[in-house]
């Protein structure tokens, strides 16, 4: 027993010293990426292909959310910071300023394609035909008084029929992403803001008091009508299956994979299909980006080649493997322009 104890102690001490001496302080030989969970599956597919077909190591990708990615990306210019950040929205001015303050001056912006956000319910229920105004009225915390006039009241609507008589009398219950998610940002911007602007007095507010406008349009109700379901969209799909009266909000790729379980609602006259999103007919779609730290190109091996793989037609093209994964390809000219930027590594200029 005693011997076992000693050998154990000796072995663990040896291991401890071995572990602490393998600290890698020298340069990195793989690409490090952070950012949006929406772009993550696409970036991962490219990274994998790149790792298999090139002599470089497979890049590492962390899904930190768009905002979290920007923070890490802009933390400094050293090799201990990420080389690329993926984003499901454009970089904000404040983020660019943070970047510049920390010495990250040259950032290349590449727009990779589009993602549709769908408003779906179970196949067991009838498909819904919604407008952005309906969704705004159903989900906002404060809405214009149903009695008319320019007064805001706490959301009184209980069922979809209350919102719009043409809709079924189902209880309003929508499962959607939490505020840290880029999908949520895009949803509030594309649907809520838009639906809210259909009321002239709120639209006027946008000019006079932008902060108030944001608060009115982007604050979702907290009385159970909107349920934050975290970032796991598979869970939302499962919930919709068990409660057919509910609705869910998620990215198009989840609808694409679960076409036998859920269906996308028609929004403002068009249904979310691959073709409708690609042609811009389906309005709730947003561009996806990645940002490259130019200072790392040439320092960390493989960045140029990775970008080339991502912007090649076999990846992001109409028939590319990313389309297979649910990325909506950008129109040909846009792809060409962005491939050009990616090739020349032209830094972006903030307007």
């Amino acid at each position: 027993m005693q011997k076992i104890g000693y050998t154990l102690a000796a072995a663990s001490l040896m291991l401890a010293s071995a572990a602490t001496t393998t600290m890698a302080t020298e340069g990195r030989d793989y690409i490090s990426m952070v950012g949006s969970g929406t772009v993550y599956p696409f970036a991962a597919a490219v990274a994998e292909q790149f790792g298999k077909t090139s002599k470089f190591k497979t890049p590492k990708i962390e899904a930190t959310g768009t905002g979290g990615g920007m923070k890490l990306f802009c933390a400094g210019a050293g090799v201990d910071t990420p080389d690329i950040t993926n984003a499901s929205r454009q970089m904000k001015k404040s983020e660019m300023e943070a970047c510049e303050k920390n010495g990250v001056t040259e950032v290349v912006e590449v727009r990779v394609g589009y993602d549709g956000i769908v408003f779906a319910n179970s196949k067991k229920a009838a498909p819904m035909q919604l407008s952005r105004k309906d969704i705004y009225l159903a989900l906002a915390k404060q809405v214009p008084s149903p009695a008319g006039g320019d007064k805001l009241v706490a959301n009184p609507y209980k069922t979809w029929k209350d919102v719009n008589p043409a809709l079924p009398a189902n209880k309003i219950e929508v499962f959607g992403p939490a505020p840290i998610s880029g999908t949520r940002d895009a949803f509030t911007e594309l649907v809520m803001d838009n639906g809210c602007e259909t009321f002239p007095f709120i639209k006027a507010m946008e000019k006079s008091d932008a902060k108030q406008f944001k608060a009115v349009c982007q604050t979702l109700r907290e009385d159970g009508g909107y349920v934050e379901a975290g970032d796991n969209y598979n869970l939302i799909v499962q919930k919709l299956e068990t409660s057919p009266a509910s609705m869910g909000i998620f990215g198009f790729s989840y609808l694409d994979q679960n076409g036998d379980k859920v269906q996308g609602s028609m929004i403002d006259g068009s249904i979310p299909t691959f073709e409708n999103i690609a042609s811009g007919k389906y309005v709730v779609s947003r561009p996806l980006f990645f940002y490259v730290k130019k200072a790392h190109v040439g320092v960390v091996p493989g960045i140029n080649e990775y970008i080339a793989e991502f912007t090649s037609d076999r990846a992001w093209g109409k028939e590319g493997y990313l389309a297979e994964k649910g990325l909506i390809p950008a129109p040909a000219e846009e792809r060409k322009a962005n491939a050009e930027i990616a090739k020349s590594l032209k830094p972006m200029v903030m307007k």
Partner: protein, 415 residues
């Protein structure tokens, strides 16, 4: 006596009720356990099998340049081999769909084969290649046949081809070796848990190597040498407190100290191990102190009485007797560390990593993180892989806890 008899029936009833409550509690928890395990195994066991397709691949010398084997177009060899099986398919669109029955991994397998053995060039080989995840899902019955074509990821034509292959005996479910040999992948049929298992292993080695000696040393000092005063009381309160802290806090600490201050590499299992060390230390210290305490004072006194020094008493008598309890505590602490994801999030170990890690500083992820990432993926084939990975994790945990019980029973001395 009469007064006792009056109340007796009531007291018996009370006792029966009490026992019944206990039994009900156990049955309820067992029921939940069975439900959990049942749902996981029923979803996950199919992942241990994988649909494969038998192709007759012709290693065309025209397509394979001996000097340039790494860059040759192996995908076209695969596509050609499928098209040979279906000579009636002619349109370009259909040929493309036909190619989609086979995983993109097949081309890489061929590449490996040819590079290892260039003599294959010019020969015909019958090979089982991995089918695409959608074919796999269809063959396993997860994609229903009787819904409109637009609602499933497999088209009517593809179903007809799959049926044809199955009828010819060219489509079979075989043991899924990829799942145990590969790292992560965005293609479910190519994804495996090897990378995550290795990452977990490296992380746990670091944790064990640091937490066990430090924890035991701390416990021995606190129990045997430290004076009982306000300071040691303070330390004791703090150790107990740390054991109850949410693990994410240790992740934040790790981010601040190991990454930002000590500049250790992000996403490395070394840092993960350090963070988990901090997390498991209190557990180990508490368990070790308890087992030191349970060594009877008579042993101590006898050793001291026949002239052993304090150190001899501890190292010859007390430590060996307390060791089984310490090891049990350590293993339980390790098992907890194995299941952790939250602290690893902060230090970048929640990441997509394809290459299997080979050292402590390689970027790595761990099993529970892999489960979390797969659970979040849209592809349906990841559902069964998620459950299968959970089964593997549970199996490892079972082994570890089993080892704890075994050690306890084997070495424990009862007084």
């Amino acid at each position: 006596m009469d007064r006792v008899n009056v109340g007796l029936a009531k007291r018996y009833r009370k006792e029966r009720r009490f026992r019944l409550f206990g039994l009900a509690a156990i049955i309820a928890s067992l029921l939940f356990l069975v439900l959990l395990l049942g749902s996981i195994t029923s979803k996950g066991w199919t992942a241990f099998q994988q649909t494969q397709i038998l192709l007759d691949v012709y290693f065309d010398p025209l397509a394979l340049d001996v000097k340039n084997l790494a860059t040759a177009n192996y995908a076209s060899l695969v596509n050609h081999a499928v098209q040979v099986l279906f000579p009636q398919v002619e349109s370009r669109e259909d040929k493309r769909r036909l190619g989609k029955l086979i995983s993109s991994g097949a081309a890489f397998d061929l590449q490996k084969m040819v590079i290892n053995n260039p003599e294959l060039i010019g020969t015909n080989q019958a090979l089982w290649v991995v089918a695409k995840d959608e074919v796999d899902m269809f063959a396993k019955g997860y994609i229903p046949r009787n819904v409109p074509e637009s609602e499933r990821r497999v088209s009517d034509k593809q179903i007809a081809w799959i049926d044809q292959l199955a009828a010819a005996g060219r489509l079979k479910k075989r043991f899924n070796t990829t799942f145990f040999q590969a790292g992560d992948s965005r293609e479910p049929e190519l994804a495996g848990i090897r990378g995550a298992v290795m990452g977990s292993m490296f992380t746990l080695i670091v944790t064990l190597a640091l937490a066990f000696p430090i924890g035991v040393a701390a416990a021995v000092y606190l129990e045997e040498f430290a004076p009982k005063n306000r300071w040691t009381d303070l330390i004791e309160v703090n150790v107990n407190n740390l054991a109850a802290i949410p693990s994410i806090v240790f992740g934040l600490l790790g981010l601040a100290v190991f990454l930002n201050f000590m500049n250790l590499p992000r996403s490395a299992s070394l840092v993960g191990g350090l963070v988990l060390t901090l997390m498991t230390l209190p557990t180990i210290i508490i368990a070790s102190r308890a087992s030191l305490k349970s060594v009877p004072p008579s042993i101590r006194e006898a050793a001291l009485g026949i002239g052993a020094s304090k150190m001899q008493t501890i190292s010859h008598h007390i430590l060996p007797l307390a060791l089984p309890g310490m090891m049990t505590g350590t293993i339980i602490g390790m098992a907890r560390a194995l299941g952790e994801t939250a602290p690893l999030l902060m230090i970048g170990m929640v990441a997509f990593i394809v290459d299997v890690p080979h050292s402590f500083s390689d970027p790595a992820t761990v099993l529970p993180v892999q489960i979390y990432l797969w659970a979040d993926s849209p592809e349906r084939a990841f559902v069964e892989r998620t459950s299968a990975a959970i089964m593997v994790l549970l199996f490892i945990l079972l082994l570890m806890n089993g080892a704890a019980v075994f050690l306890r029973n084997k070495f424990e001395r009862r007084w």
